[in-house]
Amino acid sequence: MLASRNMRASGARVAAAPAQRAILAARSGRRASLAAKAQKKEIMMWEALREAIDEEMERDPTVCVMGEDVGHYGGSYKCTLGLYKKYGDMRVLDTPICENGFMGMGVGAAMTGLRPIVEGMNMGFLLLAFNQISNNCGMLHYTSGGQFKTPLVIRGPGGVGRQLGAEHSQRLESYFQSIPGVQLVAVSTVRNAKALLKAAIRSDNPIIFFEHVLLYNVKGEAGDKDEVACLERAEVVREGTDVSIFTYSRMRYVVMQAVNELVKQGYNPEVVDLISLKPFDMETISKSVKKTRKVIIVEECMKTGGIGASLSAVIHESLFNELDHEVVRLSSQDVPTAYAYELEAATIVQSSQVVDAVHKIVGATAPVRA
């Protein structure tokens, strides 16, 4: 089911917008190129991730996938749908249920020249692989004195879904944060998901790649096979002047929902998607802080020891004199995620909280503009 290919083929024939149709009719010679430009080929995030994996596997025969149900089942979130038919059972390896075991197998394969993408069916399951991720993935390059590298991508869905219960609603970015030797990346849009996954696969470092369980069906435009993002760069989602809102993953959408409301009220927030949870892109971050002098961090992980805790400390330490207000952190409660809808909603940050935080830090009314 090569859905993306079919879509591309048929997509070119989807009707262009009315104004463009007129242009197309008038200039038939340039019709094809204009049609292509006018087309916004939209795919879902899972398809974009699948495209990234497919393209990289085609480009480099040492790239392979390992995980539970990645092969015949196509992946729990379809990120490897049909790939086993194209690449075979060994390159898209269905593993038994033994996370620590197959993560270690991925490490050994990476040390000896392959480039495995290890999927955690849910990032939470990777708690069982913590031994291998911390000790081996993160440390081996160092303890071997640089002799072996572990170019692994460890990816999977995390975050709070819809009433999936405490164990399936975990945010492991904060747990993995301290492991020396790994990079943490969190994707949020179709475009950055594909480009970042390609970059992660090509990287010689072990990358822990956080997808979000509720973002797989988000639609958007993906880049072509040469679009490879920078793993260490944050993304400025919206430029502004009143306050810097640093966020990542699904909270980006929660923030933008709040921003739409705030803009109507006359505020002008700047929104930065961290993308690289470790290391932080201090150039983008400091530039934003110097501009607005106020910071709100909006994250889905727990307050204690979260990504926001690290970022807040770093901002206070290195940009203290650029701040007019202490950094405000909006994080999930230090509470296991309940099953009941209302309690689950109360555990994570909602857009109204973001609006309130901006009111509090910037002022109850929007600043007067010159």
């Binding site: 025969p61 040492t62 392979c64 075979g88 060994m90 390159r91 390896l93 593993t95 038994p96 033994c98 620590n100 075991g101 197959f102 993560m103 270690g104 197998m105 991925g106 490490v107 050994g108 394969a109 990476a110 040390m111 000896t112 020249g113 392959l114 031994n131 291998q132 000790n135 081996n136 081996l140 390059h141 160092y142 303890t143 071997s144 004195g145 640089g146 002799q147 072996f148 590298k149 572990t150 020396p180 030797g181 990079q183 990287s203 010689d204 470092n205 793993l231 260490e232 760069r233 690289s276 470790k278 290391p279 932080f280 892109d281 201090m282 150039e283 983008t284 400091s286 770093v314 290195s318």
Partner: protein, 399 residues
Amino acid sequence: MQAMLKQQRSGVRASQPARRAVQIRAVAAPMKAATSSKSPIIAPEVAKDLYYDMVLGREFEEMCAQMYYRGKMFGFVHLYSGQEAVSSGVIRQLRQDDYVVSTYRDHVHALSKGVSAREVMAELFGKKTGCCRGQGGSMHMFSSKANVLGGYAFIGEGIPVGLGAAFQSKYRRDVLGDEKADSVTCSFFGDGTCNVGQFYESLNMAALYKLPHIFVVENNLWAIGMSHLRATSRTAGDEDPHIYKKGEAFGMPGVLVDGMDVLKVHQVAKEAIERARRGEGPTLIEAETYRFRGHSLADPDELRSKEEKAKWLARDPIPQLKKYMLDHGLASEADIKALEDKVAEVVEDCVKFADESPKPERGQLLENVFADPRGFGIAEDGRYRYQLPGFSSGTAIVS
């Protein structure tokens, strides 16, 4: 602890037909003990190589004990003395492109695989000329040249890594089409590890994917102060726990071998290695052996009885092989002395080398954290942190 399978006839089971005990043996015909005929089962060159390697292992480890007590090496140091027959018997017949994975008791595995004594001793002294630049230490011996994939402190965590190397070998053959790709991987670990979950996860995957991986259990009966008999349950009907039987449960041959007899280990390993190279999958080898010293140099070793130690000391693999070589004309006294003298020379030299080697500089601190140093991220001024002054002197702020 010989493999005596008892058939229990309890009240309930007396009425049932007795179960026939199935004894797992090596796949090929069991090795016959050399008789009085003058045809030994091993070539003189091989025997001498095994002898040299065992003596090197022994003398090296004894030197480590001396150096530790003299304050030249620190931390946790786990010596291999007594178990040499397993390392030499298995590893000396591996190729350079075969892989070895070990636990913290890894000095001798590294030596047998071809890592120079100089590099291992320097690593133990924490010098920058060590095989891991002084960054690994006793429990983390790695060599990309000799394909030693570590050296692991948490027992059990090395076995899946070994599986990964075996997977890579099979991948090269089946996916990348390299017909010559038939390297095998041997993972070494002890009786204590055989109760760790990753051992079972690995047995399952190795058999399932038919990986060219050999599980070598060095059963020395003790995991620090925990006797194997107190830690491990028995297969129904057995009086003692038998690790090799777990192979059959996962669909691979499980072989028991006298780990104090290097020739027997050599034979059993040869069969397993050839099986793996032919693509027939993994083998589980349980070698019964013993460590003459404590678990580590910090272990007072008070729980093992004098009688037990004496019994095993009497089965020291080195004099056993020496006697065998002399009896079967594989080496003369002079040959043997020459080998021992060479070892003494090598061991003395490696200590001198390690002693005289420089310590790591501060600049080494940040170098090997990431294979791609961009992993430290982008600093405020827009440069990557590894480009900042102070990175190569190890003083840069990187987080």
